[in-house]
């Protein structure tokens, strides 16, 4: 393998070849049309047209997904102020799909980054580094549906089936309904999400750690820095860029999160583990409220716009676009 297909690695290699400016006298050549047309058609039908359609539909009642009655901002108003399944700030702790996404954002992103870094640092100091990384990375290959089955079994309320409750009852406690208790369910599923993504962070951060010149760490050791100081003052700052790129990816994962919730709890018990993507699906396709579903999709899109801008800036600075 000579060249990795990573956007990051082609940084700075943008040759003059790709940069030629179009001259006004030449239009779309025949080959340009042949090469671009199939992709362009699909992108227009599946991305450009639907984006406009969904935005407009979110201001409409949208029966059967068609434009039936203009309702202005009513779908949004309903979501934010009159739908406790979407957002309920009247109690403490707050609840609702949007709140659950915030919970995911904070806990999932920070735990994945933290555990990823800690495992990468530890693995880098032993001989069986590759093995550990492969073990932790393995869940990345597996469908979220399979992760959901694996963990629903771990969380089984029956102590003869679920290993967690077997441990709880062996310690003298009563079995816990990990997925059946509204106060626990979100944390239980977030743990699964973390378990599934730590390997990804470990592999990326491990590569970043290897790029730190060993002289810097040696010099700090000679100067009498403790391992903790080395970790906090050298390692963390030196991997902060890959960390931020990774964090953005994890944020996107959270906003798009669907399969795990749908398979493990279908948003339950009640509505307590719903997230945005689940709400969009359930309002539109289970409840037939297409206007409301469209509004949720637009909210997801709006949350992803800052990520879009971040990525474009990053690629620009790396000269890949």
């Amino acid at each position: 393998m000579t060249v990795a297909p990573q956007p990051i690695e082609v940084a700075g290699t943008t040759s003059a070849a790709g940069r030629g400016r179009w001259r006004p006298e030449s239009g779309f050549s025949r080959s340009a049309i042949v090469f671009l047309l199939p992709a362009a058609l699909l992108l227009i039908v599946f991305l450009v047209y639907p984006t406009i359609y969904t935005i407009l539909l979110s201001f409409n009642r949208g029966r059967r997904g068609e434009f039936t009655e203009w309702v202005g901002l009513r779908n949004y108003e309903q979501l934010f102020f009159r739908d406790p399944a979407f957002l309920d700030l009247s109690r403490f702790p707050p609840s609702g799909a949007l709140w659950n996404n915030v919970l995911w954002l904070v806990l999932y992103v920070s735990f994945v980054l933290f555990l990823g870094l800690v495992i990468a640092v530890m693995a880098g100091r032993v001989r069986y580094e590759a093995l550990i990384k492969a073990v932790v990375f393995l869940p990345m290959a597996i469908a979220a549906t399979a992760l959901a089955v694996i963990w629903t079994f771990v969380y089984s309320p029956d102590p003869d089936q679920g290993v967690l409750n077997a441990m709880v009852t062996a310690g003298g406690g009563d079995p816990i309904a990990w997925l059946g208790n509204p106060g626990i369910v979100n944390f239980a599923i977030i743990a699964v999400g973390v378990w599934g993504s730590v390997g990804f962070a470990t592999v990326i951060l491990s590569a970043a750690l290897k790029a730190i010149p060993t002289e810097i760490i040696e010099a700090a050791r000679v100067d009498g820095a403790s391992e903790r100081q080395i970790f906090r003052r050298i390692i963390v700052p030196m991997v902060s860029l890959p960390m931020s790129v990774l964090a953005v990816t994890l944020v996107v994962n959270v906003i798009k999160l669907f399969d795990l919730i749908f398979v493990m709890t279908a948003g339950g018990p009640g509505v307590s583990s719903r997230v945005l993507a689940f709400t969009m699906y359930s309002e539109a396709f289970q409840g037939g409220l297409f206007g409301k579903g469209a509004a949720v999709a637009v909210i997801m899109l709006l949350l992803l716009v800052p990520v879009m801008i971040f990525n474009i800036r990053r690629f620009r600075s790396e000269r890949v676009i």
Partner: protein
């Protein structure tokens, strides 16, 4: 594990310990790390191993004792037979293949073509259009559901081509949502190819299709393979797109079938465990055999 060593890490550079004493101190110094890593390995392996063991246990055993009671374990392959042939998972497996293969090959071809145009052809507003493609990376699939379903429903009613009853809708949807990432990745690979080579071919009178087929594609096999594997696993593992765009129950893929086993089957764990491993089989095979491409595809895919 030799293969994994070069895919996941560089060599660990450590000076060799000189004496037995040094060696022992070294191991002892690292004891906390070894213990912590052992715990990590356990947490990451046990849930999957537990389900794997369960998938081979008779149904009555599963109900009466945990998989960790190793002295009582009896094994059978009956769960796999039952879930494949009585629960119809063999059909779902075939459906998954039917969905995954075209949903990998079509976007691969179309993304290569568009990427070639963005890298080596000149046309109006090229850089702006490429920026638009990059912006599309972030558009969530949810945005497409209602408009595309409505469009296809009307199309099916008017023409009777049955996009939603067959695989047409899901192939097209997977293809379209794979394109922005594919075009981005491959275009950035294609522009690193030597300009002289392509210019020389042009001077010799080669057509764009000729250059694309004989120069660009053969030289870009690593990037195309990484993207192809990433896309194949993405589709294989997908539940959401199938949920929305495959409306005929006979055409459901594995993910959908297993999901319905879990929610309507009242936790028949002997079937679910076997089903989950049938779903995991191909991705795990790909993971162990093509790990290098797989990891690269996933890392590159982090922008998706």
């Amino acid at each position: 594990m030799a293969q994994q060593a070069d895919a996941l890490s560089g060599p660990a550079i450590q000076p060799a310990p000189r004496t037995l004493g040094e060696r022992i101190t070294r191991v002892l110094n690292k004891a906390p790390i070894h213990i912590a890593l052992a715990i990590v390995a356990l947490i990451w392996l046990l849930p999957t191993i537990g389900l794997l063991v369960t998938s081979f246990r008779p149904r009555t055993d599963i109900q009466n004792s945990g998989w960790w009671e190793i002295f009582q374990l009896r094994f059978t392959t009956q769960n796999y037979e039952q879930v494949l042939f009585s629960q119809g998972l063999v059909d779902a497996l075939i459906n998954t293949v039917w969905i995954s293969v075209p949903s990998t090959i079509i976007p691969l071809l179309l993304a290569c073509m568009a990427a070639y145009a963005f890298a080596w052809l000149r046309f109006p507003a090229r850089d702006w259009l490429f920026l638009l493609v990059v912006a599309m990376l972030m558009v969530p699939v949810q945005v497409a559901f209602i408009p595309v379903l409505t469009l296809f429903r009307i199309l099916d009613e008017q023409t009777g081509i049955g996009l939603l009853r067959g695989y047409g809708a899901v192939w097209l949807a997977h293809t379209a949502f794979a394109l922005p990432f594919g075009i981005f990745l491959l275009r950035n690979f294609f522009i690193t190819l030597p300009r002289d080579l392509i210019e020389a071919a042009r001077i010799d009178g080669a057509s764009d299709i000729g250059i694309f087929r004989t120069i660009v594609l053969p030289l870009s096999v690593p990037a195309i393979a990484a993207y192809g594997i990433f896309q194949f696993l993405w589709v294989w593992n997908d539940l959401l797109m199938a949920l929305v765009f495959v409306q005929d129950g006979d055409k459901w893929p594995l993910t959908r079938q297993i999901q319905s086993l879990l929610s309507f089957g009242g936790a028949e764990w002997h079937l679910l465990a076997a089903g989950a491993f049938i779903l995991m089989g191909v991705p795990l095979l790909v993971f162990f055999s093509l790990q290098r491409y797989f990891v690269q595809g996933l890392l590159a895919g982090s922008v998706k």
